[in-house]
Subunit: 247 residues, 2 copies
DNA sequence: CAGACGTTAAATGTCTGACAAATAAAAATC
DNA sequence: GATTTTTATTTGTCAGACATTTAACGTCTG
């Protein structure tokens, strides 16, 4: 929204623009360099001492800036002679935890209702149905089948059942064979699972869940996207009914 | 094959990196306290000196940990007598930029193809169609109409047109009236827009876009979810055809 | 000449101590 | 009693130092 016209560092001076957070400024500057390609993957940043001289600050300040970037997995550091800070290749594995943390806190801190979270979660999962039906592999079907079989085991602990539930839905999302989609959805599903577990833990009927999961598997096997979406809607309704059975 | 100087021995395990990163350990510990509720929103953390004593490290180390948390908007700091570090109420506005940054870098650093990104983007947007049709307000329709009118102006610069395009789609997502969905989708749309602009900038026909946008508006007005999804599919196909014109 | 081995230098990780700046509460003044 | 001043607390920043890690260099030996 704000006009980002900070492309002229030559005329830049230690102005009075509320610059009481040097480490944040430095971190932002380096981050922008990474985003717009001036610093490419695996490029080595100047040493902390050099950065300190370059930005005319002390080394602790530079270090705080680097730690900010490290917290976002934008850089990695290595000790030793040819060590230093390197631009990190951001991988899905590294981005997942942050995504989950952020989503979890957003839900818990902003009073998101169970219904709203649930609605979002199933809408997103529904978005995968079409692609999953066209792109799913037989291996993925086997994986889904395996989880369903696990869930049929009545001796399974509640915790393990929930874990298997998450695995099932993540595998379902993976059926779309689109890593971007998997990334986005994994964050959403993982973040909402604790919330959903807390509410539906005791009330859920495993038989109903297993039946619906089986129906999803069948729809995927037959590549029937519409029927797949319908089952997801049923699962959505059932989950909602667990949360508010007040009558 | 060129000899790669950055070989990665597969036997190398990332297990021994926990030994020397005190600031990361401290940051993780505090983060977990926030997540599981031991530290609630607006709670004040101990002062840096107290934290240093508590964790038996020096103040700079504590500060690096706090900067890591600040980079994720988990805490805010305030100077002065009754200042300190406070648990931040994570808002969507604060989470957006990080979400966009992460998504942008994930796309650009992992060689995500245009088709894959496009597929994910439209699948996600499609997920909103059903909810948008039931929940949209007349105000939102007006906002969409306003953007379409802007896009009809032939004197609009390419940049402004793209900007309006983003606004249109974000407003569309907002029609679902689900903040969680808006958050997830905004990240995806914002992150993919630069990629899509780069490819479709010159080739796109504004008339086609405007027509499709109008069709979306009509579908929303009539609350016809299926027709809305179909138009989105058309837009998807058209965008894809721009990237690989078989003519 | 080649390989093993010790040395060295560079870089990050950490600590100590200090001062500056901001800020709210307490104290002093009118 | 209201306003002003002082004070204490806390973060922001700096300087210097030492420890630790690690790659590169040089030396010694077979």
């Amino acid at each position: 929204m704000s006009d980002n016209s900070e492309k002229r560092p030559s005329t830049r001076k230690p102005a009075r623009r509320a610059a009481s957070d040097l480490s944040a400024d430095i971190a932002n500057e380096i981050r922008d360099s990474i985003i717009d390609g001036r610093l490419i993957v695996d490029a080595r940043l100047p040493s902390e001492a050099e950065l300190a001289a370059q930005f005319a600050v002390s080394r602790p300040t530079v270090r705080e800036a680097l730690k900010r970037l490290a917290a976002q997995s934008l850089i990695r550091t290595q000790r030793g002679a040819s060590g230093g800070a390197f631009v990190n290749r951001l991988s899905y594995e590294q981005a997942y935890p942050q995504q989950v943390t952020t989503a979890t806190l957003l839900l818990s801190m902003n009073g998101i209702s169970f219904a709203t979270a649930c609605e979002a979660r199933f809408a997103l999962e529904r978005a995968c149905a079409l692609l999953a039906c066209s792109n799913r592999t037989d291996q993925q079907l086997d994986a889904l089948k395996f989880e369903i079989e696990r869930q049929k085991d009545t001796f399974l602990s509640d915790e393990t059942f929930c874990q298997s539930d998450v695995s099932f839905h993540r595998t379902f999302v993976d059926c779309a064979c689109n890593p971007v989609l998997s990334y986005q959805l994994a964050g959403a599903i993982e973040a909402m699972q604790p919330l959903m577990n807390m509410i539906t833990y005791t009330r859920r009927s495993r038989a109903v869940i297993v039946d619906l999961h089986s129906a999803i598997l069948d729809a995927l096997a037959d590549r029937k996207a519409t029927s797949c979406e319908n089952v997801l809607d049923e699962l959505h309704s059932y989950t909602l009914s667990l949360a508010s059975p007040k009558s």
